[in-house]
Amino acid sequence: MAPPLETTTMFTFQVDGLSAEREGRTVFCLQVSAENTMAIPRSVGSFINFITGIVIGVFICSYFVNKATLHIQRHMQTNYNHRNFHYYHSLVKGMMNCSSKRNQSVADELYNKVRILCWVMTAPKNLETKAKHVKATWGKRCSILLFMSSESNPDFPTIGLETKEGRNQLYWKTIKAFHYVHKRHIDEADWFLKADDDTYIVIDNLRLLLSKYNPNEPVYLGRRFKPFLKQGYMSGGAGYVLSREALTRYVAAFRDKTCNHSSHVEDLALGKCMEILGITPGDSRDNHLRETFLPLTLLSHLIKRHPDPSFWYWKFSYYKATHGPECCSDLAISFHYVSPEMMYVLEYYIYHLHVVGYKYRKSTDFSGPSKTLKQGKDMGKR
């Protein structure tokens, strides 16, 4: 039978960490019996009881202390926040007239170093419905922007390739377009990009990728597909790039009949010529092995779902592809099947909408050509 608790004493202290006083005081509450004698227990039985008592005493005390500490912490936190707020509030008052400002100097520097000529495959009926929106959005970031059509239009302006329109004209248009840019602009650019009028290109990210390569070497970059050719070829819809040297060799190949109009399938036919010339398709994935040239709709790439084994994409993708967040690089370069309004939506996401203060989860970069050599063995894996 335990002795009666004759007296209870409440100890109360207070924490006020915000006055600059040095004494800390703590809030907790403990009931203590007024038992005074601390005789040493004699028997083993009472010794065990004693030890048990200590343990229980510690537990009881810790329980109350813990509760009190949480209460203190919360109190301190709200007071600290409150005080902090007023300190910062005075800093911020009147400062809100500045919005979050974008500084483009690094991008601008790269603009001068990496000159890209963009030629966009279009048609007379698409000028007002599609090509116009390319011109209003990403097109203006190219060093040189040209629209290639079957007919010339001096007002838009478009270059007339003197072909007809239609799917079976696509490779003729490509051949003629590349010949045109070679003839007129070979000395004015380092890189030559082909895009469709439903492709959106993030030129700043393309510049970063290309800055890792030498335009005086034969370079062929885009979204690598694997069927039909051993070394693969680049998807036409997602856009692809030739270096100045690669373009020169391509044009020369037609002059000496090494290459010709082998088929209507524009991207595959060009890939075949590259294979003949010994120009290997490069790896445009970022340092996290995420793809940058995206041939499907963005929705299709990003939504996680069970892969449908009959879907052509799995058979075509040279490197292992996925649905979901790993599909796509933070520094994506091209989007395909982009509707006119989606051009502006992408433009908004990329060049306007900003999440203030957000630290990006993954710092992204491109490794450049040495990566392709190192990963020669594990191509197809991730």
């Binding site: 600059a20 800390g24 030890i51 800093l91 306007h352 203060g357 989860r361």
Partner: protein
């Protein structure tokens, strides 16, 4: 027997005293630190505008952490797809997200409001939030499951507003004499506003459950009426250029409208660079938004922002 009891009690006392001494020792250390910190504050001179941008990262982090937002998200069993998307996307950026549903639903965690009536749901949700979270959060953001919010931009917007003042913010609409905040694009209340609301909700003369008029008013208007009794009026949120921060439409719709209204300046005229909410994106599109908002970016564009926000833990789509 008594002897055994005695030694037991002695043990308890000894254990208690040891624990006490240990705790006291620890706490004097902590409060000592605190004392130092507040001492620091008092000795700093009044800062100027430029200082905020020159603040070191640690201070900016601290500043960012002082704005604590509780998200109240109203979900229904019919909109399970939206609910799932919200859980997987933007709500991860709230300091805490609480889901409120009309009834108990087993699929995801939510607080049941036990009513189908929209106004009573709103009342109960705010009451629950106040009672459970008033000490830990200073801003309360109510959204629907079809809303998409960028919480970091909300915090940036709230940066120069004192939560101990009454704020009732969102996209405000004037209806006769009453100005109210539209729910679909989200409603923000400061802790002071929520506290006043909590008290007036118990006043059947000013703020009855059945609504303040003979006919049914929308819950957005009922809220505005109750808040008005406490002296709080709605504020419309805009950026420096007068663009709306809380949008009741989705981005695609806004762009299509801009293409028709001002085709030569579509994006410039469409939407704010620091927009906070959009409404009406499908569940799948919310995943596209996460990529477009939090990940996709152009190389070489740098910002010097006054705040710092880290990406949330256990998340892979931002």
């Amino acid at each position: 027997m008594i002897k055994e009891g005695n030694s037991f009690m002695k043990g308890v006392i000894l254990g208690g005293i040891v624990c006490l001494v240990f705790t006291l020792f620890n706490n004097t250390k902590i409060s000592g630190e605190l004392g130092l910190r507040s001492h620091e504050h008092r000795h700093l001179k009044a800062p100027d505008k430029e200082e905020l941008l020159k603040l070191p990262e640690t201070k900016r982090m601290e500043l960012s952490l002082t704005i604590r937002v509780l998200c109240l998200i109203m979900v229904t069993p019919k909109e399970i797809g939206y609910w799932a998307s919200v859980i997987e996307t933007w709500s991860k950026h709230c300091d805490k997200a609480v889901f409120y549903s009309p009834e108990t639903i087993k699929v995801f965690e939510s607080v049941s409001l036990a009513t189908e009536d929209q106004w009573i749901q709103t009342r109960r949700a705010f009451k629950h939030a106040y009672e459970n979270f008033k000490d830990e959060y200073n801003w309360f953001f109510l959204a629907k499951s079809s809303t998409f919010a960028i919480i970091e931009n909300l915090k940036f917007f709230l940066l120069n507003k004192d939560p101990e003042q009454p704020f009732y913010i969102g996209h405000s609409i004037k209806s006769g004499e009453l100005e109210y905040v539209e729910f679909s694009s989200g409603v923000v209340l400061s802790i002071e506003a929520l506290e006043r609301l909590y008290r007036v909700l118990d006043d059947p003369m000013k703020c009855p459950e059945k609504g303040s008029l003979l006919w049914k008013m929308s819950e957005e208007k009922e809220l505005a009426v109750c808040l008005k009794y406490t002296g709080i009026v709605a504020d419309n949120a805009e950026d420096n250029e007068g663009k709306e921060l809380f949008n009741s439409k989705n981005i695609n719709t806004l762009v299509v409208e801009a293409m028709s209204n001002h085709p030569s300046e579509v994006v410039e005229g469409c939407c704010s660079d620091v927009a906070i909410t959009f409404h009406g994106h499908s569940p799948n599109h919310m995943h596209v938004l996460m990529y477009g908002v939090y990940r996709l970016r152009p190389y070489g564009h740098i910002f010097n922002d006054a705040l710092i926000f880290m990406p949330p833990l256990n998340s892979d789509n931002d």
